[in-house]
Amino acid sequence: MANKKTENGSENRRNFLRLGLMSSVSAVAGASLISNLATGEEKKASGEKVRVLTPDGKMVEVDAESINNYPEAVITPEESRKGIPDKKFVMVIDLSKCKNARKCVEGCQKAHKLDDHQEFMKVQLMQNNEEGSPYWLPKPCFHCDEPPCVTVCPTGATFKRDDGIVLIDNERCIGCKFCITSCPYSARTFNWGHKEKFDDKSQPYSPETQVPAAEGTVMKCDFCPDMLRQGKLPYCASSCPMGVIYFGDKNEDIVTNGTETVSFSQLIKDRGGYRHLEHLGTKPNVYYLPAVNRQFPVERGFDVDEEILDRYKDVPIVKEFKEQGKL
């Protein structure tokens, strides 16, 4: 009986993989073209609760997994080392559109089951000098092509795949934290103590989702390969209301923010795209479009919880605003 079930499972998984990898087959690609135009459709994340109405008129909240089409489609740690064939993922973040709405942070935290202050995606307030114009900088992991974190890992727990994604296998990680000290972008976090959610094994562990997390191991932004396999955007990109985050495959030279799909190279060329701290030679796969011709003044981002606002107290503009009593 159990045997049969696993057989079914692997069958389902194969189907799923096929679907994920050959997303340009007519059905999926066609559908995504249409969903591009049908904006406002919120994508429901797997791993969260969904509220639905049953035909007999009852409102029920169901685990998204329980009605997930592919519950067995977990990519094991071994499989997750390979990467999605022939892809090279790249992210472009348009700083001129960011207003610190923090939806990317929240979407990511929800999907990865992170606690309040544990953020894979951080929004930082940058001001390069006293006179410089302050801007909001959403900062995921840069998935570098020369990743110092991977170089220093003594057990190969963190690795770079052929599709450019840098992941962590928390079943391999010994928690030496060397990778955290070697990342110049502070992209990594550590699970310092035990948390109840680590014991929830209802969802099998995969480095591609990093759920369930484990005590004494390292975590970071993973570019949501589980979503990419389904031909969907990472959670941060799909939850941004301003379309700040573009994501796509560098090989096919196409990036999309969910509403707009453009050529990656053209976008970088036209808008003066750059990489943060390029001089370090880590060759990030996250590009930024400079914060020019802003859609919002920077102070629109101050409309957040007091606790969040307090993070930025050392930035010159925040000090200035406080002196003027504007905050």
Binding site: S23, S24, S26, A27, A29, G30, S32, L33, I34, S35, N36, L37, K44, K49, V50, R51, V52, L53, T54, P55, D56, G57, K58, M59, V60, E61, V62, D63, A64, I67, D86, K87, K88, E146, P147, V150, T151, G156, F159, K160, D162, L228, G231, K232, L233, F247, G248, D249, N251, E252, D253, I254, T256, G258, T261, V262, S263, S265, Q266
Partner: protein, 298 residues
């Protein structure tokens, strides 16, 4: 008064605790139900029929609840009877999808429109719903040709009348796009008149690892035609071979020189240890012989 508050708290608690196992009765009067049918003719000439069935709160526009697990019947409506095309259940997003194979023959009316209908039969709690759609079956002919070494995209769009004569479509917006992993990239939008359009294929389109590109031509959400998608694959991409680097600092296997240096160092040092230990055994052996000798003398 007090009891009222207690009941309220109790209900609230019950709701909080048992959201999963207990269903909550809702007052459906507060919800407006949206039931909409759309259709897409796909590249392989099959037709996708899709129903979106969602209840949305009249007061709170953000409160949208999909209806999950409802049976939807899809029909081709003719003058005398409704022909059942198939049945599908709505998913967690409130969407029911039916793919009608290309070989399905539809019955059109006198003006050449195919009438399609989606029906939800209703339950004790939910009213029955239906939505109807009339579209013409449109054919998109997509040709990719090099004319005088210029890569050209040629499109012909027409409908067929009852005598199978091609009637070119007019003033219809057609979007040309390049297939992508997550979504397709538009390269041209054009109102096509006389059913024909051609343009030069842009340079610098990557394509997949072999340089193959999916070129799409589509009509989107048109009153007369619904959605129509046509697709062709061609090796017009300029993608270079993807190279994977090995023996890097970050790869699984290290740069070769590291293995060499480490081996030399380790072998050198450990050989020395072995040599020292071997000498210690020599010392012991000599001592043993000495002991034996002195015993014999005694």
């Amino acid at each position: 008064m007090r009891t009222k508050i207690y009941t309220l708290i109790f209900v609230a608690l019950a709701f909080l605790i048992n959201t999963k196992s207990f269903a909550q009765e809702v007052n459906l009067k507060n919800y407006r139900v949206r039931f909409g049918l759309s259709t897409t003719k796909q590249a392989d000439n099959s037709r996708k029929l899709e129903v979106s069935y969602i209840a949305s709160n009249k007061k709170d526009r953000k409160d949208r609840v999909p209806i999950y697990g409802a049976d939807i019947n899809f029909y081709n409506v003719t003058e005398d009877k409704d022909i059942l095309l198939g049945t599908a259940k709505t998913d967690k997003e409130g969407t029911a999808q039916l793919i009608v194979p290309a070989k399905q023959a539809y019955t059109a009316n006198a003006e050449g429109y195919i009438n399609l209908k989606a029906v939800f039969d209703g339950t004790d709690a939910l009213d029955s719903e239906e939505d109807e759609l009339a579209i013409k079956d449109v054919f998109l002919e997509l040709n990719l040709k090099e004319i005088d070494s210029v890569k050209t995209v040629i499109l012909n769009a027409y409908t067929l009348d009852s005598l199978q004569t091609k009637i070119p479509i007019d003033e219809t917006e057609i979007v040309f796009s390049i297939g992508g992993m997550i979504s397709n990239m538009p390269i041209k939008r054009e109102f096509v008149s006389d059913g024909a359009f051609k343009f030069e294929f842009p340079e610098h389109i990557s394509g997949d690892k072999n340089g193959n590109v999916d070129v799409f031509a589509s009509i989107i959400d048109n009153d007369n035609y619904g959605n129509v998608i046509q697709k062709k694959n061609i090796d017009w991409g300029i993608n270079k071979q993807i190279t994977h680097e090995t023996n890097k600092l970050w790869s699984e296997a290290a740069p070769i020189w590291m293995y060499v240096v480490l081996s030399i160092l380790l072998i050198g040092v450990w050989a020395n240890y072995a040599y020292s230990i071997k000498n210690l055994f020599d010392i012991k052996k000599e001592g043993k012989e000495l002991e034996l000798k002195s015993q014999n003398e005694n």
